[in-house]
Symmetry: C2
Subunit: 377 residues, 2 copies
């Protein structure tokens, strides 16, 4: 893994990983309200809630998750089961286990429409499991065998709004990865109501270091199997992270429920503005570029903000003009580290860059993109 070199300005500007530091400025304003205090003998047991399918989920976090989806209107939680995980990464695998069967003679084929999130493939292949296998682009899947389609919406890397695409007549199951289905990235157009929906604290609020995700699951047997997988993987999920996520989500919701809140104190409004500003600046640079174009899905009317809204993906999905075949390599000459389109199942003319980095990185990124001396270098 390539990592940011310490200190800045760095010779290499690392925009490979989607570290969401952009939102720090909001949380520094609410440092005190969001503070959690954990004493020596707090949170010691494995157990959180023996009465719940997901027995390691703290009730206070369960309530906070239901509350924030109620405030935003982006996912139905009523009558569903919430399973907490060590990031949505762990939950993705838990869902694959829940949807596949050791009794099946063939591994389940896992597909996603290209360009797809680069890590799905690696996360599956590292296990070398006979339960499931990575089968690539959902758009060309034509086997007669059962499959799992991962529907990532908005999509990572390109922010596209998606539904399932597999045309096979075989039995298919769906996992909806809704990590970016929050108002700062996209218009909230409906209250999602799918069988398995994955969310992550990282992309919702920017707290990536907490490694906290949740799944909203319709079927109790699926929730039980996911819980079992997490038990056998890590015997639950950090209670410190759960406690903190609950607190931060409560602060977001409290501000929305307070009619006197200034807009700058409303997290999704504030963070949407940050994303809008970045996209305006980036679009300007791209417009003046003779090298790159950038993907951006259409806007829509957002039921949460009650206004028409452009999309503001967390990544720039750049495409090089004809004649430049290796976008990642080209960017590397500008001393910018990106992730090649090849990792996302498309060709190398594309590359993904993190737009959730801190201000210094973002400004440097724009400068390097727009600076012809670098481009010709």
């Amino acid at each position: 893994m390539v990592v940011a070199e310490s200190g800045f300005p760095s010779p290499l500007l690392n925009l490979d990983q989607g570290d969401p530091l952009i939102f720090e400025s909001f949380w520094s304003k609410f440092n005190d309200e969001c503070t959690v205090v954990i004493k020596g003998n707090d949170l010691m047991s494995y157990m959180s809630d023996p009465s719940n399918v997901c027995w390691f989920l703290l009730p206070v976090l369960r309530d906070a998750i239901k509350r924030i989806h109620g405030v935003v209107g982006n996912a139905v939680t009523d009558g569903k089961h919430i399973v907490v995980g060590t990031g949505s990464t762990q939950l993705f695998k838990a869902a694959l286990f829940a949807l596949s069967s050791p009794d099946s003679p063939l591994p389940m084929n896992v597909v996603a429409l290209a360009p797809y999130y680069s890590e799905y493939k690696d996360e599956i292949e590292v296990l070398s499991s006979s339960l499931f296998q990575w089968s690539g682009d959902a758009n060309v899947y034509d086997k007669d065998e059962a499959y799992i389609e991962v529907v990532t919406s908005p999509n990572n890397p390109d922010g596209a709004i998606r539904g399932p695409v597999v045309k096979s007549r075989a039995e298919g199951k769906l996992i909806h990865d809704l990590a970016y289905y929050w108002p700062q990235y996209t218009a909230i157009t409906d209250n999602a109501d799918h069988d398995i929906m994955l969310f992550t604290f990282s992309k919702c609020t920017g707290h990536a270091g907490s490694r906290l995700g949740w799944a909203i699951v319709k079927d109790i047997e699926v929730a039980e199997k996911m819980t079992k997988f997490i038990r056998l993987s890590s015997i639950g999920v950090s209670k410190e992270s759960q406690t903190r996520a609950a607190k931060i989500i409560q602060v977001i919701c409290d501000n929305y429920h307070n009619p006197g809140s200034a807009e700058s104190n409303l997290f999704f409004h504030y963070s949407k503005r940050l994303m809008l500003e970045r996209w305006e600046k980036l679009s300007e640079v791209i417009k003046n570029s003779n090298v790159f174009t950038v993907a951006r899905s259409q806007g829509a009317y957002c039921l949460f903000t009650n206004e028409s809204s452009e999309s503001h993906p967390g990544f720039a999905w750049l495409k090089c003009k004809e004649g430049i075949e290796d976008c990642e390599g080209y960017l590397r000459k500008l001393k910018i580290i990106s992730r090649s389109g090849k990792r996302f199942g498309v060709d190398a003319k594309y590359a993904r860059l993190n737009l959730l980095c801190n201000d210094a990185f973002f400004d440097e990124f724009l400068m390097r993109l727009s600076n012809n001396k670098w481009i010709s270098g």
Copy 2:
């Protein structure tokens, strides 16, 4: 999974899982010293230390881990790599991945001497991986194929001190699971210096809810592979848990470094006394029992406490007398939930019971064991 019913006294006394609540009384005395305060914009990045192999390990935790092993003298950390995990459960799997190879035509055989920790088998088998497979009791392993032996010492369930036992001439690799190699459970007889050593915060201090473990790894390639596995499983480990573990470990070490500390403020001395008291009470009940015997390994001279010391395992490993073939079933008649010997690779005459439960559970356990009305019921 069978869980404790809410409220107490409960009709069913659940001593199946090893929840280490016994140590709460110590931490309540140090609630203030151990308090961690985490503000809104703390710990947001995925990244902890780009210069380290394990880039998601917080330096403050790395230093605390090295320090506590220095204080106790139970493991060599100099010149080694520390990999943090979501409990040692995640690290166990990370180690299996690091020691096996996708290029190998056959799965690695994973073995452990029976009675072995019941979860190894389930944790491996849930993955259905072609990289490795559970191959049972190390004592009867006679294949000519490469293997990984898990050496659990002190052993779960019975507290035995162990070394490797496989006699096969095939190439073997070792994982040392030293979760219970702390002074409250056993005499510290040497500064362990194995290739891969697993420890967990749960059993060291009793903070099971934090899901925090660490591996001390000699070979940098193994540490890199383990780090990669954890990246693909959960993109790191909760920073809130890391921060808290660092703080609590520092408090333990500070007290040991303060020459004026009362013995009751020294965690390992205090917790050893708790374990000793429980084992004295349990031994008395067992002595008067006409049904059970209990495993207990020999004592030894402890280099940490500078005294000869009995072992005080975290579990009671009970055996029923002749004529009672199903110890778990027998205990269930006493309304005690235990884990059958069959789960540990031996016969059903044995059962494991958690001795790290809270006082109310432990007292009730002794009462039910010694109460003839129950036994005859």
